[in-house]
């Protein structure tokens, strides 16, 4: 048996959901709202809020739950931590998936609502003039999901060593000859630096490039984890281990360490990197949930996924390009710039 949690309104027994606008739990039925701190206290007093043992049976990677509200079946996979009943829409949290070793330390609550994600998509596509007309006209959002993505945040102190090849140029003229002297130097730098809250995607279901494209998230607005924040949203537990994620964070830190040390190489005309090594002095990871709005659209049988940072509203997604429109742009720019160049050449007497 697994524990399914849902938050019922004490006034009308409707299912409460977390409201990004007020940062409170809101009852969509009677409009009552409850402060998160108040909820935390009530969380401690078991019984006031619904925390029912639900039926669960595992069938390989699929877990099936029975909704306490309508009795409908809620199907999730082994990583699903929060979802909604497909029959009555009752938001539920699989408490077992966010407890013990899977309990996040912090959560960044959603600050933007679903309607804002829809507006952002319209604005985003409105700027994509070279997308196929049918894609823009017939664009139908197939699905919008508010998803809490499991993320590992790494705090690290590193020691980095980098070597560069740098050149310095000196030019002088003697008679009708211009001389250029290029001097080559071996440059070496070592230094210590610290990184804080470098995120790595903790879910194999969330495309890593999509999550990294909506960065950065402001960790300053993170709050200690509370199950209630998941009410009304989807959530997954991590299935990428902290050790696996460390390889990715090292890759990113190494590049930044190289760039940072390169900036200390001054008074040269060119600086090229030869090698960089980093050594981890201290590393700490914490498990956090990040808010992301996911939007799916379908065009010619292909699914296009867009993501919006649930905090800042940064919106990204790949859009198809119309070959005809792009060809027109190519021809227009080619002819236009050639004509401008020709006229300029004539005016300046070069032609």
């Amino acid at each position: 048996m697994a524990e399914l949690m849902d938050y019922k309104c004490p006034a009308c027994s409707g299912a409460l959901e977390f409201d990004p606008a007020t940062q409170k739990m809101l009852c969509p039925f009677c409009g009552s709202s409850y402060d998160m701190e108040e909820l935390r206290e009530k969380d401690a007093q078991a019984g006031e809020w619904t925390s029912a043992k639900a039926e669960e049976w595992d069938d390989g990677n699929v877990a099936v739950y029975r909704c306490e509200s309508c009795g409908g079946e809620i199907v999730g996979d082994e990583t699903t931590a929060a979802t909604a009943c497909p029959f009555c829409g009752n938001p539920v949290v699989m408490a077992g998936k966010v407890s013990g070793e899977f309990k996040p330390e912090f959560v960044l609550p959603f600050q933007l609502e679903k309607k804002e994600a829809e507006q952002k998509l319209k604005q985003y596509l409105g700027k994509k003039k070279f997308a196929p007309g049918a894609f823009l006209r017939e664009n139908r959002i197939k699905e919008i999901r508010g998803l809490y993505v499991p993320v590992w945040l790494y705090d690290s102190d590193i020691h980095a060593a980098a070597s560069f090849e740098a050149t310095r140029k000196r030019t002088w003229t003697q008679g009708d000859t211009e001389y250029t002297e290029t001097s080559y130097y071996d440059v070496y730098r070592e230094g210590d630096m610290s990184f804080a809250n470098v995120p790595v995607d903790g879910s194999t279901k969330m495309p890593e490039d999509l999550l990294e494209s909506v960065e950065p998230f402001d960790f300053g607005k993170a709050v200690p984890f509370q199950t209630a924040y998941l009410a009304g949203y989807l959530a997954d537990k991590y299935d990428v281990s902290m050790e696996t994620g460390a390889a990715r964070v090292n890759e990113r830190m190494q590049k930044s360490a190289e760039d940072t040390l390169r900036k200390t190489v001054k008074n040269f005309d060119s600086v090229n990197s030869r090698s960089t090594q980093i050594q981890l002095l201290r590393g700490v990871a914490k498990y956090v949930l990040y808010p992301v709005w996911m939007l799916n659209t379908v065009y010619r049988g292909e699914t296009y996924t867009f993501a919006m940072n649930g905090q800042s509203g940064k919106f990204v997604g790949n859009v198809p390009v119309d070959g005809g429109k792009l060809g027109g742009l190519f021809a227009g720019v080619a002819v236009g710039s050639a004509a401008v160049l020709f006229v300029l050449g004539k005016l300046l007497g070069m032609i």
Binding site: A166, T180, Y185, D192, M193, R252, G323, L326
Partner: protein
């Protein structure tokens, strides 16, 4: 489908440019090497006296009548500016500009990509350089003759 169309368009445009360039070069080479310069053989300022017939130098009976041709020198006459060449250069530059614009537009439609660095997460003021070394390896000297811009003056 879109990629194919774009590739075809690019290939077609480039083929056209190369074909025109090659044709223009061939015509210019023929004019310069094979056909003699028109002005060198005929003096249009010379008036033909009455009763005399105008004899083309090429058809003169006595080869001695043919004046010795002064050796043509490019420095003697100002260099002519070829509009065909200028148009071709403008077209090529226009195509390169268009290609850059199209590629940048195309890449802006695919903004989803992995991040290569973690610069945003570097703690401000945390960098402490512990070793710094710059070793001179070698130096090369290259020379270039400066072109005199007042040659034609």
């Amino acid at each position: 489908m879109n990629k194919k169309l774009l590739s075809c368009l690019l290939a077609f445009t480039l083929c056209c440019v190369f074909a025109f360039s090659a044709a223009a070069v061939n015509v210019r080479t023929f004019v310069a090497d094979v056909a003699p310069p028109f002005e060198e053989n005929y003096d249009f300022d010379e008036t033909v006296p009455e009763g005399e017939t105008f004899v083309l130098y090429g058809e003169a009976d006595d080869p001695a009548q043919v004046p010795a041709q002064a050796p043509s020198s490019e420095t003697d006459t100002p260099q002519e500016k070829s509009p065909v060449k200028a148009v071709l250069i403008c077209c090529v530059i226009g195509l390169v500009i268009a290609l850059i614009v199209v590629l940048s537009v195309k890449s802006s439609y695919k903004p989803v990509r992995r991040r290569s660095d973690a610069a945003e997460y570097l703690v401000d003021g945390s960098l402490q350089v512990t070793a710094s070394n710059e070793t001179f390896i070698r130096s090369d000297v290259s020379e270039r003759t400066i072109e005199n811009k007042n040659t034609n003056a």
